[in-house]
């Protein structure tokens, strides 16, 4: 069930009034859980078994930790169950195929059967979200949640279930325990977030996808100009697609009286790679920081170890995105980038002398280059694209001017949003109303056909 479909509209029109009616009662959480399971089971009811397994294992682990002196085996149990499930459904085929490729390269007469397993939607998100509960409890950061229903609702809450943000129990469980008032300002704010997210997804991401998909499906048929434009377009597509989803999720949450965390903060305005990762998929970046980078030692064990820890974290982050060597290379490129620029970014020269616009363009160029590996079907395709970008002629790319216009308008808006112009731009009610009306009418009249799924659903 996608946010931008009629079926979700009907679903929400049923769920929301009941939520408003029950939110002050004991039925609030069970109703949210039921709605969330219907939402998730809509893809495939069998997926519910996975989310129930993950939820039950972590709830049980914390209960046992609370009643036992030895906590470590229970946190290990939780991590094993969750990562085991993720490993089986997401990486088993990849590992088997990689082993077969290795055997073939070494001319070893051995073949591992490659399982054909359908990746359940959102598994990478809810598994991570559920694990934070056991790990945070183990670290003594949170209390045990006595209600299984409430805990299950925290893991499966439908607005952010399938593509995040990956919430922490400290934020979301606390809100599920309380009954914050839902004011008309919450509803207005929720609608404001939702319309922007919907515009990002339907008007921008799906539009750019038409060009990107065409070029990346047959990169050998396109020359440098088209490949460069498709790569830049993909950078914007994935941003609009994913941040659009997040905005819609946050908007729905807001209307339901829930504050879901910010996940994107204008990442293409970043002035350094470190800054980029503080702005891009914030909930995942901070998850890896808190549960991988810091446990590895962070920056507390000397400079060399810091770089190693950063590189490991980026590689794991790459692999989290998908079971393909392209994602490993993408993570590796960002690891290299971070290692190479970490010191530079803290110098006075970089912070004071290099113009902000130049820094933003450099970061955007590097991130776009890395997207080649993220988007390509395989490493071979990615390499072909890179070599053609630098080695083929520049001809008419036939990139739609309308898409250029929309991109320039959005980028200019983001620059203005982070500048002193923001007050002038958004301080005026007629301007804001005009923007919302323009977005809504563009969506109603010019939006593309089809219900294209979100890119991050595949992760």
């Amino acid at each position: 069930m996608l946010f931008h479909t009629w079926v979700f509209a009907v679903f929400f029109l049923i769920v929301y009034p009941v939520h408003l009616a029950t939110r002050g009662t004991r039925l609030k959480v069970p109703w949210l859980l039921l709605a969330s399971y219907v939402f998730y089971g809509w893809w495939n009811p069998l997926y519910l078994l996975l989310i129930v397994t993950s939820t039950s294992a972590d709830y049980l682990a914390v209960r046992c930790m609370a009643r036992s002196r030895r906590k470590k085996p229970w946190v290990a149990f939780s991590v094993l169950v969750n990562l085991g499930m993720l490993g089986f459904f997401k990486y088993a085929g990849f590992v088997a195929q990689s082993l077969n490729d290795l055997f073939a390269a070494l001319r070893v007469a051995c073949a591992v059967p490659v399982p054909d397993i359908l990746l359940p939607v959102g598994i990478s998100f809810f598994v991570f979200q559920s694990m934070t509960y056991t790990i945070d409890y183990y670290r003594g950061l949170i209390e045990e949640e006595p209600s299984f229903i409430r805990y299950a609702t925290y893991v499966s809450l439908f607005p952010q279930l399938v593509a995040g943000p990956i919430e922490r129990s400290t934020n979301l469980l606390r809100q599920l325990r309380a009954t914050p008032p839902i004011t008309r300002h919450d509803i207005a704010d929720g609608l404001s977030l939702f319309i922007v997210g919907l515009f990002k997804k339907r008007a921008l991401a799906d539009f750019l996808a038409l060009y990107v998909d065409k070029v990346y499906a047959m990169p050998d048929r396109f020359d440098a100009s088209a490949l460069v434009l498709a790569t830049v377009a993909f950078g914007w597509q994935i941003y609009f697609d994913f941040s659009g989803y997040t905005d819609m999720a946050r908007g729905i949450g807001r209307m339901m009286g829930l504050r879901i965390m910010l996940n994107f903060n204008n990442p293409y305005l970043a002035t350094g790679l470190g800054d980029f990762w503080r702005r891009w998929h914030i909930s995942l970046s901070s998850w890896f920081r808190d549960y991988v980078y810091l446990p590895l030692g962070g920056n507390r064990r000397g400079e060399a170890r810091t770089y190693v820890n950063m590189a490991i974290t980026m590689l794991v982050s790459g692999l989290w995105h998908g079971a393909n060597w392209t994602f490993v290379v993408w993570g590796g490129l960002h690891a290299l980038g971070r290692v190479a620029t970490r010191r530079l970014e803290s110098t006075r020269f970089y912070t004071e002398r290099v113009p902000t616009a130049a820094k933003r363009i450099l970061v955007f160029a590097f991130v776009s280059f890395a997207w080649v590996f993220f988007r390509a079907r395989c490493v071979g395709d990615a390499w072909l694209i890179v070599t053609r970008i630098f080695g083929s002629a520049w001809a008419d790319p036939r990139f739609p001017l309308l898409a250029v216009g929309l991109l320039v308008a959005v980028w200019a808006y983001q620059w203005a949003y982070e500048s002193r112009l923001r007050g002038a731009l958004l301080g005026s009610a007629p301007v804001r109303i005009g923007l919302v009306v323009a977005m809504a009418l563009y969506l109603a009249g010019c939006g593309g056909a089809g219900d294209k799924a979100f890119i991050y659903f595949q992760f």
């Binding site: 905005d247 739609p400 109303i433």
Partner: protein
């Protein structure tokens, strides 16, 4: 640690307050509500005597509704049906409505046929886009070709792409070969009740080659979409694409065929035809039904008897309901282009037979 969660409102939001939302929603609803109503004042409908829908607008139900309104306003007798009424193999001036106009010496018949439409879709078309013709005189064509196989009848289990899927019933009765997801059916059911959606699709068919705006820009990357909206609709005389072979079926080398006729009792398309007739009667339309004329010369003897039995059963049902009708005798073989479409001379002959038919004359005399 986790307490650093960023709960700011947004990073590039456009935040409206409750009152501002009321204003914005009012503006949005006003535009969405008014656009389909105001548009006809900007885009003239080139009405010729018998109103035929341009071929490329065969899926443009907004224009069809406009044609219905125009024809109804002029008090015409409306010929409703598939490509046999539309006149797939003939120019507009040779189609059945035009021949009736010529022979009767008055411009009183309008062509409201749609190329490629079948009874299931016709029901949806009239239900959702044909309100304007209520209480008018309607000649409804019954083409038994749609019951000539389980595939034509839409009762085959195997999925295939058929014409006008957004017009057919989405949930009930179940159409076995229609396998859209529940979500898509729901979307279709909701959107076809929205005049704005029909208007949006009209713009796509009339000016963007049937594509939505993003897809159109992929084919015309440097063109201004606003300039594409010329406000000039395609000509009703434009030829079908691909161009049909207008020779008689025998000259085209088409062999005689054995059809696997579906029993009327089990036929979906027959059920939808009956529901269409009922809908028109409920809406106060004066109804005349023209059955055929099917090209019986093209039917192998073993399936001809089955066809004729169904033809008789259709006639009996119409008689039982008191619906005036003509079960047309087959035209001469050389006047057919294929199994059901007459050529120009065939339409002329058919028009003559209709005008000679007492029930039709009575129907015509009572028509406004």
């Amino acid at each position: 640690m986790p307490d650093k969660i960023d709960l700011r409102f947004g990073s590039n939001d456009v935040r409206l307050g409750p009152r501002e939302w009321v204003v914005a929603l009012a503006l949005i609803l006003a535009v969405i509500g008014l656009a389909p109503v105001v548009w006809p004042f900007l885009e003239p409908l080139r009405l010729e005597p018998d109103h035929r829908l341009p071929f490329s607008l065969g899926n443009d139900y907004y224009t069809y509704a406009r044609l219905c309104r125009a024809a109804a306003a002029r008090g015409k007798t409306l010929l409703v049906g598939d490509s046999v009424i539309w006149g797939h193999y003939v120019p507009k001036e040779e189609a059945l409505s035009a021949q009736l106009n010529k022979l009767s010496g008055a411009e009183r018949y309008a062509n409201l046929g749609v190329d490629g439409i079948h009874p299931a879709a016709m029901l949806g078309l009239l239900e959702h886009h044909g309100h304007a013709i209520r209480r008018r005189a309607v000649v409804l064509h019954c083409n038994l070709l749609w019951m000539s196989s389980r595939r034509h009848d839409l009762s085959a289990d195997k999925e295939f792409a058929f014409n006008h899927p957004t017009l057919v019933p989405q949930f009930s009765p179940r159409i076995p070969c229609y396998k859209e997801s529940f979500a898509d059916r729901l979307g279709i059911a909701i959107e076809r009740g929205m005049p704005f959606h029909a208007w949006k699709k009209h713009l796509q068919f009339a000016y963007f080659g049937g594509d939505d705006l993003p897809a159109w820009t992929m084919h015309h990357p440097y063109n201004c979409p606003l300039r594409a909206v010329t406000l000039r609709l395609p000509s009703p005389n434009e030829e079908p694409s691909p161009k049909p072979d207008t020779r008689p079926w025998t000259a085209q080398g088409i062999a005689r065929q054995g059809f696997a006729w579906v029993d009327l009792d089990a036929s979906l398309q027959w059920r939808f035809f009956r529901e269409t007739a009922d809908l028109l009667l409920r809406r106060g339309n004066r109804l005349f039904v023209l059955v055929g004329p099917f090209n019986e010369h093209m039917v192998k003897p073993d399936s001809l008897a089955a066809y004729q039995a169904r033809k008789r059963a259709v006639g009996a049902w119409l008689a039982e309901r008191g619906i005036p009708h003509l079960v047309a005798e087959p035209l001469p073989s050389e006047l057919y282009a294929d199994a059901s479409h007459p050529l120009a001379d065939g339409y002329r002959l058919l028009a003559g037979r209709l005008l000679e038919c007492a029930a039709f004359r009575h129907f015509g005399q009572a028509s406004p």
